[in-house]
């Protein structure tokens, strides 16, 4: 496929924003359950929620550039029964609203105790956070399923697509949370950095699994099934026109195999190798600079990763557009 930058920015930005919220909420749950004794301050939650919301808004803005008719975008909520894109369009504002509420409750300090179970005090923000967490996971699934549900794009048609959207979004969000902690509350760095490393390793395993799977795929559609002629040697001589069309522009990246391999190596270094080293350094000797490098490297790497993800999708319609004569 031809990667569209609007969609690359949309998926990476909202993935990071959702991951950042998951990081904030994980910290809160760990504290409430007394797993850790480091409590995040309301300022930390507020900054974190604002940053998360900001990323989601940027993602939404990027998505508008993908539409031919953005003024009709509201119509996209109509077909939620059948379309994962429609579901995403509904869940994205819901997540934004819930994260706004979550940040607001922390910012205003509305620590209403809703329920007490033994020593565990469940307050309002914890409840809102729970609902927001469910919404965040629904959004990850909807975003991943937009691509995973297209069965003839075999590279995308796999549960690994959804898993990778979740893991890569989460790890980028947790890394950003570590950076925010370094600015605001350095005592939280080990907690977030530790989680980031765990997620980084998981993401590496699953993204690697997806790369291996896609390398071994054999296309189900061939020129024989495409035109229905049973012969081993069929060549297209003319696609029917000599200029370009949407069919020749939108479905192929137009880059060399070498370029593709370079992007793959680049994202493996930027998403996994550099942030891993930086996070380990940050665990030993925390510094804002080190974590800023980790976060920036990871985000740039995710742009490359998403570009590669789209470029790797091999659309069967390309069989019909091979030769000009």
């Amino acid at each position: 496929m031809q990667p569209a930058f609007s969609v690359i920015f949309l998926t990476t930005l909202i993935g990071m924003g959702q991951g950042l919220f998951l990081a904030l909420y994980t910290g809160q749950v760990y504290f409430v359950l007394n797993v850790v004794d480091k409590v995040s301050t309301d300022t930390f939650y507020s900054i974190g929620s604002a940053a998360s919301l900001g990323l989601l808004i940027l993602g939404l803005v990027a998505s508008v550039f993908h539409l031919g008719r953005p003024e009709r975008a509201w119509r996209a909520a109509a077909m939620w029964r059948t379309s994962w894109l429609s579901r995403e369009v509904i869940i994205l504002p819901t997540v934004m609203g819930l994260i706004f509420l979550y940040g607001l409750v922390h910012y205003m300090g509305w620590n209403l105790t809703v329920l007490t179970i033994g020593a565990v005090v469940i307050d309002l923000s914890l409840l809102i956070g729970l609902v927001a967490t469910l919404a965040v996971f629904s959004l990850y699934i909807a975003t991943g399923m937009i691509y995973a549900c297209l069965k003839f794009l075999q590279e995308w048609h796999s549960p690994l697509t959804v898993i990778n959207y979740i893991l890569l979004g989460a790890v980028s969000g947790f890394t950003l949370a570590t950076l925010i902690a370094a600015y605001n509350q350095p005592e939280l760095i080990p907690f977030f950095a530790g989680w980031s490393i765990v997620l980084l390793v998981l993401a590496f395993i699953f993204r690697g699994a997806s790369l291996i799977r896609n390398k071994r795929l054999r296309p189900k559609s061939t020129i024989q099934t495409a035109i229905g002629i049973r012969h081993n040697q069929i060549k297209q001589k003319a696609m029917g026109f000599m200029g370009g069309s949407m069919n020749t522009r939108d479905f192929f990246h137009g880059k060399t195999a070498f370029f593709l391999r370079s992007i793959k190596s680049l994202f493996i270094i930027l998403v996994f190798a550099i942030p891993l080293i930086m996070l380990i350094i940050a665990l030993l000797k925390p510094s804002v600079m080190i974590l800023a490098i980790a976060t920036v490297s990871m985000y740039l790497g995710l742009l490359a990763e998403r570009w590669y993800f789209f470029a790797e999708g091999n659309h069967p319609q390309n069989i019909y557009y091979q030769a000009i004569a």
Binding site: P70, K220, Q236, G240
Partner: protein, 241 residues
């Protein structure tokens, strides 16, 4: 239930592109607005088309055959492009099975074109909405036209009658009979889209004769001297005198 569709006979298509031209002409002149064309005579011509004729070479020289292959929307019975549409602009009509786009609802997100394995959908770069073959829905029900002309523009243009239009759910229609009796098939059956448009394969009429059909074994009047040994009496000689 009706399912309108085209049956395209690859055996008689000569690749003249008349269907492409007439399709473009009819659909760029309709009430839905022009089908865009940029730099039609310039360096990088591009535009929106609903129908294309492609050419394939089958086999290796000198044993080759040239196959001209017209391709437009196949109006699948289970169209993968319809459920993915977030706005409901893409739909399949209940009454005749035509897959259409409501240009007033389409947001131009291109998701349906990703979901079509055949590459049948093209965005209009000026109206910024997705377009595709409508089976000339604005012709086939037009009662102002003579009945013989209530057919898609591509069908009317075809000089060799390689394109036949009709209801593939009616077992007695011309298209159903052609599919049934002439080996009609669907494109990319592996995805379960069940295209309504069918293609008729290249066919060659080989007549095979056996030797005894060319040479007469019996020769009652002994007019031709086919017999290997005419001096020996045959059974015919015995019965005919």
């Amino acid at each position: 239930m009706t399912q309108l569709a085209l049956v395209i006979d690859l055996n008689v298509c000569v690749g003249c592109h008349a269907c492409v031209t007439n399709c473009k002409e009819w659909n760029t002149s309709g009430s839905a607005g022009a089908l865009s064309d940029d730099n039609p005579y310039g360096k990088d011509p591009t535009g929106t088309f609903f129908n294309r004729v492609q050419t394939y070479e089958v086999g290796q020289f000198p044993k080759t055959e040239t196959v001209h292959f017209p391709k437009s929307c196949l109006h699948c019975e289970d169209p993968p492009c319809v459920p993915v549409c977030p706005t409901g602009a893409s739909y399949k009509r209940e009454e005749d099975g035509i897959v259409l786009v409501d240009y007033d609802k389409c947001i131009g997100c291109r998701y349906c074109s990703w979901a079509c394995p055949y590459g049948a959908r093209e965005i209009d770069e000026h109206q910024k909405v997705m377009k595709k073959c409508t089976l000339c829905v604005d012709r086939i029900y037009d009662e102002n036209l003579p009945e013989a002309e209530r057919q898609p523009a591509c069908v009317l243009a075809c000089p060799t009658t390689a394109r036949v239009f009709g209801d593939v759910h009616d077992p007695d229609s011309e298209v159903s009979v052609a599919i049934r009796e002439q080996g009609g098939y669907q494109l990319m059956p592996e995805w379960g889209t069940k295209p309504s448009n069918h293609y008729l394969p290249r066919r060659k009429n080989h007549v095979s004769y056996k030797k005894d059909e060319l040479e007469r074994v019996d020769n009652p009047l002994k007019k031709e001297d086919y017999q290997v040994d005419a001096s020996e009496p045959s059974l015919d000689d015995v019965t005919s005198w």
